[in-house]
Every structure is written in C-alpha cells, then in structure tokens.
Amino acid sequence: MIKYITRRLIQAVPTLIGITILSYVLMLAAPGGPVAALTFDPRTSPQERQAVAARLGVNDPIPVQYLRWLLGDDWMRVDTDNDGLADRAFLIPLDADHDGEPEPPGRRKGILRGDFGNSFFRRRPVMDVIVARIPATLELGLAALALSLVVGVSVGVLSAVRRGGWFDNMSRVMAVIFNAVPVFWLGLILILIFGSRLGWLPMGSRCAPTLTGGCPPIYARIEYLLLPTFVLATGTIASWSRFMRASMLDAMGQDYVRTAHAKGLPRHTVWFKHAARNSLIPLATFLGPAITTILGGAVITERIFSWPGLGGIAVSSVIQQDYPVIMAVVIISAVGTIIGFILTDILYAIVDPRIRLD
C-alpha cells in the first residue's frame, strides 16, 4: 500500500511541474505584469524604474525567473557575513542594478514553500488572503458533496429497483435537465423565488453581518447554506444518480443476487443489503472528478451567493488583474484536485479487496 501511494505521489510531480509552467507562461503573457504594477507611480524616473526592474530580476533569463518564482531567491543571493548585503550569488548577478554595490540578500521563498508574494490589490501576503478564504469553500464544497452523495445514491438505487417505472423515467428526465441548466441561472431563479419573492431564505452571503466579522457555528445558519449547496450539487446529483443506477443494475444481474433471491430472502434485503452495498464500490472512482466539478462550480456559485470563498476571490482577482492571487488560487485548486484523484484511487483499493495494488 505504502509503495503504491509513493508511486502515485511521484507520478503527480510531472503534472505539478506542468501546472506551474502553464500558470507562469500565462502570467508572462499578461499585460502589465508585476513590474508595471510596482513602478506605476508617475513620480518614478525612468532610471529608477530600470533599477527597480533590475532588482526584481526582470532582466534575468526567463527560466531563472521561473525558478525564482518556484523556489524563491533566498538561495540565489546569500548574505553570509550579516552586513545586509549579499556576498555570494548563484545563477543571478550579485550587483543587478550596476550601482557598484551588491544587492541585499534574496528574501522570497517561492511558491513551493507557500510564498506566493503579495497581493497587488490587498497589499497583504497572498497566502494570508487565501488561507482566510479556505474554510468557507470547504464548508460549501463538503456540504454539496454530501448532499449529492445522499440524493444521487438514493435516486440511483430506487430507479434501478423500479426500472422502467415512473420514478425511473422521471429521474432520467431530471438528470438531463439538471445537466442542461446553467448553474448561474438556476441560482438566480432560486434567489428570485425563495429570496426575493417569498422571502423564506436569505439572498446570499455566509451569515448575517456581525460586529466582529465572524460567523456563528454552522447549525445556527443552515438557512444560508441551503440554496448555494443545492445549486452547487445539481450537476453532481445528476451524474451520480445515473452512475449509481447503472452500477446497481449491474449488481442486480450478478449470480450472488440470484442466489440470495433463490434461498428466499425478502426482496428488500436482497436489494439494499446485497446489491446496493456492492454497487457502491465503483462510485469511489467518481470522487476525483466530482471534486473538480465542485471546485469549478464554486466559482460561479460563490459569486452569485456572495459566498466569501476561493471561487469568489478568483473572479474578483481576475477583474482587478491581481495576478499573484489568481496564480495561487489556480495552483492550490490544482493541487487539491491531484490529491483528490490520488485519494480516490486509494479509497477504491480499500473498499474493493479484489484490487491488488502491488
């Protein structure tokens, strides 16, 4: 098992490198970029601007800049005698701005060590901004995952048991419609009906505004969670109910189910104890893709419901052209997805003893 997990983790490394290269290339192509943003002050003279650019390392070759972004520059320019000036340099020049004096030692740690730089817009380390937002996204994502699991599995099992009946046909139609309705429009219509017209549920946000800015524990604000969870879960409910139905039909055709019927067990026992439990196994493979779907859906759902999570901040950073934050959100969500896929494989191996990993 440990051998398998190690192998999967090693396999994830090239993917991770690919993601960082892709993000970095896109950031290079961005108009303006970090130097323009930091030297935008009109009082900056062209010479000063060049010096700032040199100190930021913009004139270094692009692979070196990528390495600096990835691994930081505290090992590229080191201060060994503690006089505030670097005296040993690796890959980059000691005196970048050509003023005859060496530069101060590098302080950036690089994204691999969690240093995504400072947010242009918020003037705070990106990591602080992101970490503050993660709980809200986790809360919404896990709630949607749980809802889609419960509804999707029950609907799938019931429509397999009553195959061809009205419930089965209804659930098939519903699944297609759930997939075809744009998430943002569903959200808008539900807010319009339940929030604006009927006034039963709040129109958005995570909780009623408080003086301290925090939120009460989750059971005290369930009504805020209902609509966004449902909207975020629709797509996954549709695909899981379809998948569960197919898997359940497959299990119901197996020999052990016929045996159970033959020895006279009640139908419900056979369906729900024998067939349903085994048909849950392939569902484990759907967990990874579901995480991607939910993270992607969170962008829109959080925007509509003013939910203070990662998706919401991704959209506002794009509008504010706050590149460090966008990069961080993309890389963190990609890492989350990769971990989700690895967990899915491990889970699959645990629930199905027929699968041998080594």
């Binding site: 297609v176 075809a180 993270l295 993309v330 990609a334």
Partner: protein, 310 residues
Amino acid sequence: MIDRTQSLDTAEIKKLAKTQQDQRVGRSLTQLALARLKRDRLTLIAIGIIIILSLLSLGAGLITNVILHVDPNRTNPNNTFQPIGSENHILGTDELGRDQLARLLHAGRVSLGIGFSSAILSLAIGLTLGVITGYYGGTVDDIINWIITTLNSIPALFLLLIVAAVLSPGPTTLVIVLAFLSWTGTTRLVRGETFSIREREYILSARAIGASPWHIMFNHIVPNVLSVTIVTLAISIGNLILVESALSFLGLGVQPPTATWGNMLTRAQSFFNTGPHLVFFPGIMIVVTVLCLYVIGDGLRDAFDPTLKD
C-alpha cells in the same frame, strides 16, 4: 469473375428472389442509423428546434430590421424596464431601454456561433492529436498524455479565468481559447480507437505497399474514427455553450454591448424587483438549446451504435 450481386438493383433482386426473406437488400451502417433516427421522435423534435433556433439567429438582423423595427443595441433612457407585451416591444425592454427580443435573437447568433465553431475546432484538434499519438505511441504519446493530465487537473473554469484575464477575449479569441482547452476528451477517445485500428490487417497492407504514415493516418484511420467522434459533437456543443454563457455571465467573456445569453444575465440580480422577465428569458434560451443538443447527442449515439439491432 464479376461479382453480379454488386451490380444488381433492387428490382432485379426482387425478380430473382422467390421468397420475401431473400428479397431483403443489405443496408449500410449509415442507412441503418438514419432509419433508426427516423423513428426516434424525441431526437427529431430536438433537431427541429435547433434548426429553428439557428435560422432565427442567422436571420436576426433581418427579423429585427424588417419585422420588429428595433435595433438590439439602441438605448432609450425613457423606455426602460417595459413589461412583456408592451407597445413595439413584445418581450419588453432592459435596464437601458433596449428591446429584449431583438437582443435575444442577436445573442443567439453569438452564443450558437461560439458553441458550434469552438466544438468543431476542438474536434479537429482532438482528432489530429489523437490519431498522431495513437499511431506513433512512444515519446509523442508520453508528451501529449502529460499535457492532457496537466490540463485535466486544473478545474476548467479556473484556467478559463486566467486566460480571460490575460487576453480579455472577443468572440473569435474566445472560440480559439475554448477549443484549446476542451480537446482532451476527444484525443483520449481517438487515441484508444487508433491503437486498435493500427493493428488491423488493412493498415498492415497499406504499410506493405509503401503508403506514408501521413497517408495511412488521414486516409485510412481518420475515416474510421470519425463516426465515434462526430456522435460526441452535439454534446460538446452543448457543454461549450454552457461554459461560454458562464464566462460571459461573470463579465469575462464576450463584452457588452454585443449581447450573448450569458452576459444578458450579468446584472440580472439587480432586476429582481423591476424586471423579472429579464432574468427568465435568456436562461430559458440556454436551457432549451443545451437540452436539445444533449437529446440529439443521445439519439445519435443510440442510432449509430452497431451493437443495437432492430
């Protein structure tokens, strides 16, 4: 010896064969599929709706000028938030006094156009890369697989957000971007098919008589994998229309005043009290279009599935 059965037409076979059983003429896979499709009423209705929507969108300029006498982009501050059925404006007007029906028709042109062209471009990219990786295997396969895994592990909408931030795309750029981010599924499908076709005898014989790899790939393999991918086209158009509308809704896709079904809803949240009809119609257009495309996709898959017999 000449194969006589090939040159006989139906009437001659009927004359020659005595029983009805013997009179049956062999039908090609496409003929069988079309026959099945003709009986599938739901798919036919969906095809009809899509054709009507496409014609309405294509004729949007003509319809709004000649029949409705309105301009989709002309604002009128004295005539905002008119309800459904008001004078000259069948579906009312929006927050700037623009006619909603005219905007819906023009938006359809953009949304359907982007969906169709990006799906076809993505199919072309996916098919080409899939055949090449499937045929050559080895290092090429490894590199393309690495790109696919990388692209698939970033939630698509996040990737689109960065690209939107960097390029601030118009309709044409958006088509290219959507196509370049959505080819991975087709490539995987085609790659698998190509792996199995590569080992068939007719490919071996083509290679034996000295056909170039290019010739084998595009004259022998592509026609055989085409049917598998064409069937997924309808569903992929539907998905791309959904993605485009989401992006435009967020204000990062096609920019106003050009209307798309997505960006007509961007400010919908502020119309809840003044004009709920502005929230309803653009969404319904998206739902109907995507639903029809999904139904067509399912219908085509069933019709072209050679394992299903009548």
